[in-house]
Symmetry: C2
Subunit: 417 residues, 2 copies
């Protein structure tokens, strides 16, 4: 699966990453600001190129949701530019001294944040990912190799060309930003064998894409799997609060990974809580699939299958189950969940702590909507995505999560006895 | 490659890891102390079982060095026990609050250290690794699955049996410590497909073992590759200090990954530095392989081949090269090195900083021996090994590096607007 074009591109990226590691914060920020300006200036061109993708998408019969995600207009291009300006304003993670240790023998050991190196990002549909990834990698001094979906090819190329040209003019090493122009899958296969040259792969997209990349990659992968997020309404919950939290978690933006897919309700308050809650969901167009016990309380809703408990609907569908308390809720979440974001609504501190410890998910909430799992909402400023892995980065990945570290050790002649 | 025995073992390990995550520090430490006691009490039994391995090793004609590493005696078994006691005294990383953020909307976000889950360790020869890994994983609340080399099978089983029995008696969940009793390679292949059940694989051993594991694994891997470590003697170096540092880095314990394999010397001081330095090496039995330029200064040494610059000798052999200054030294290290540990000896602060920034290795030294790259020497108390990866953990891996984190978020009804 070796491929000369990919070999050369990866080597150039690695080489550029070493130079980029030495570029100072001011230069990176000036480049980011210039790049934001170029996006705005080139908006008409980018929108024109995007039209080509939209026409092809129409011919291919892509879904309305996909076409919406693919579409660029002036507002969306300007939002991409603003996002780059926001990244320029974030603190540079590179060079931060994480820890300092003075050893009895006089050695001074500093643990210092450094870029990871060259990062490959494989993603689907939304063209703003191109610009966001370029911005985040540049600010964290990582070279980036982009491989977007074929459905956004023209849009991605226009954004890449616009940004890369300006970057190179602004002291960013040539090769620090690169894009795969050939959408043949073999190119991806060849990229995934660049162990030791490319340092990290981040696949962003559907589950099958992520599984395929993980399987083939010889390079470390950080996965952004699905979010089968739960809200458990405890017997002690403030029911009005619980209703608002559950409604928000499901309905406010159902197509994203931190939206609720399953609502668990303590048996003791199910009769009181479920009727008005479900009425509100149904009024908002949510299809309910529930356990037999819940269907005895609220008539006219569909039965949930075993498969439903595992499902990320990404739409206005909700699984509902009645459980015997916090332990059963935890057990359900650990069996069927995806360890992304889960919440408990409760007034009982013991149950809250039990839930926080027992649910082994990236983000665990007490009395708040799971929709807050997001780099911006967590104060990270911007995000590369949400990791469902436990290695390296977990939950929202911001600039810090795009770094590694090294130990620099100052001595005055120390030798080991 | 699915295998029912492995499926059951991995599921049991995962299940135990969830229980172990909730075991408190005191209980873990009491178990570790009891386990240390059991090792001492069972020393004669363990040494008897080790004899079986030594007899087989003799029949197979294993090298003297391998047999030495394999051999257990009372001192070595007691050292294993002491190591467990030392781990019991280390700070428990689990539950540490790494970061606290209060958001403008009132959400309180805590980033909390948690165990990784179930960790598979694949290793070779030295039986003390069995005991060390059990201790480190237990203290960090990770379930561990051990797969040692067939050459140490009886020793590993005796150590495992001794430790596991006492652990289970001391409130450590059954399944938290497990060992693969069938040394068939197919078992390893089946283990490496346990993605989502086993959370991390750490291969410790030769390069071919690590490459094979990385290639086959669907589970994240942290690699401990070879150490092709360099010392660069700058023109401004204190030459007496440089001589001591280089001698220590090569000779004090040549068989380990942080020993120096290549010495780089600035052209301007080569004539002054090399003759006595090389005389000292040769007197200590070190074979020198050097560039033509160095051979013009010191007669009678072998020529280095291109291959030598890439080689981890793990013995009394040293590559020597003359370079034009710090930039050429950095370029050589980045081309031929393994990004493990590299040192500069210099009095020039600018060159020191250039070297520290330009050499992208896990540990970079100024005026000290590379031999200090070690968990104990870094103040971590004990180590799982030395990572040459840039993802998750880099350099010496102690207890902290065996953890992940999660975000716990306290609200009072917050919903996303």
């Amino acid at each position: 699966m070796k491929n000369k074009i990919i070999d050369a591109l990866a080597a150039k990226s690695k080489n550029a990453s070493r130079k980029l590691a030495l570029v100072d914060t001011g230069a990176k920020d000036r480049a980011l600001c210039a790049m934001a300006g170029a996006l705005k200036k080139n908006a008409a061109y980018i929108i024109r190129e995007n039209k080509k993708d939209l026409i092809l998408a129409g011919k291919k019969g892509l879904s309305k949701a996909l076409i919406d995600r693919l579409t660029l207009n002036k507002d969306r291009v300007f939002a991409m530019a603003d996002s780059l300006l926001q990244i320029a304003r974030l603190k540079d993670p590179v060079g931060e001294v994480i820890e300092t240790t003075k050893r009895p023998n006089g050695l001074l050991i500093k643990k210092v944040r450094v870029p990871i190196g060259s990062i490959l990002i494989i993603y689907e549909s939304r063209p703003n990912v191109t610009s966001d990834c370029i911005g985040l990698c540049l600010k964290s001094s990582n070279a980036v190799i982009l491989r977007g979906g074929s459905e956004a090819f023209n849009s991605n190329m226009a954004i890449f060309d616009t940004l890369n040209k300006v970057a190179v003019k602004n002291k960013i090493p040539d090769g620090a930003i690169s894009i795969i122009k050939n959408t043949d899958r073999k190119m991806v296969d060849a990229l995934l064998t660049q162990e030791g040259v490319i340092d990290l792969v981040i696949p962003r997209g559907g589950e099958s894409l992520i599984r395929e990349v993980s399987k083939k990659s010889l390079i470390p992968v950080i996965r952004h799997y699905k979010g089968v997020c739960h809200t458990y309404v405890d017997a002690s919950a403030d029911l009005a609060m619980a209703e608002d939290i559950c409604f928000n978690a499901k309905v406010q933006r159902p197509g994203v990974c931190n939206a609720m897919e399953t609502m668990l309700v303590d048996r003791r308050i199910a009769g009181k809580f479920l009727p008005s809650m479900i009425e509100r969901f149904v009024a908002a167009g949510v299809e309910i699939r529930s356990s037999a016990e819940a269907r005895a309380i609220v008539k006219g809703v569909k039965a949930a299958t075993e498969e439903d408990w595992y499902t990320e609907y990404l739409g206005l569908v909700l699984s509902v189950k009645i459980v015997g308390g916090v332990d059963e809720a935890i057990a359900h979440i650990m069996k069927y969940g995806s360890y992304h974001s889960d919440a408990i609504v409760t007034k009982d501190k013991k149950n809250a702590e039990k839930f926080l410890r027992g649910v082994d998910s990236a983000c665990v909430y007490v009395n708040a909507s799971t929709r807050f799992t997001d780099g911006g909402q967590f104060g990270k400023g911007a995000e590369m995505g949400i990791s469902t892995d436990k290695i390296h980065a977990r939950g929202p990945m911001g600039l810090e999560e795009l770094t590694s570290y090294k130990y620099i050790v100052y001595g005055n002649g120390q030798i080991r006895k």
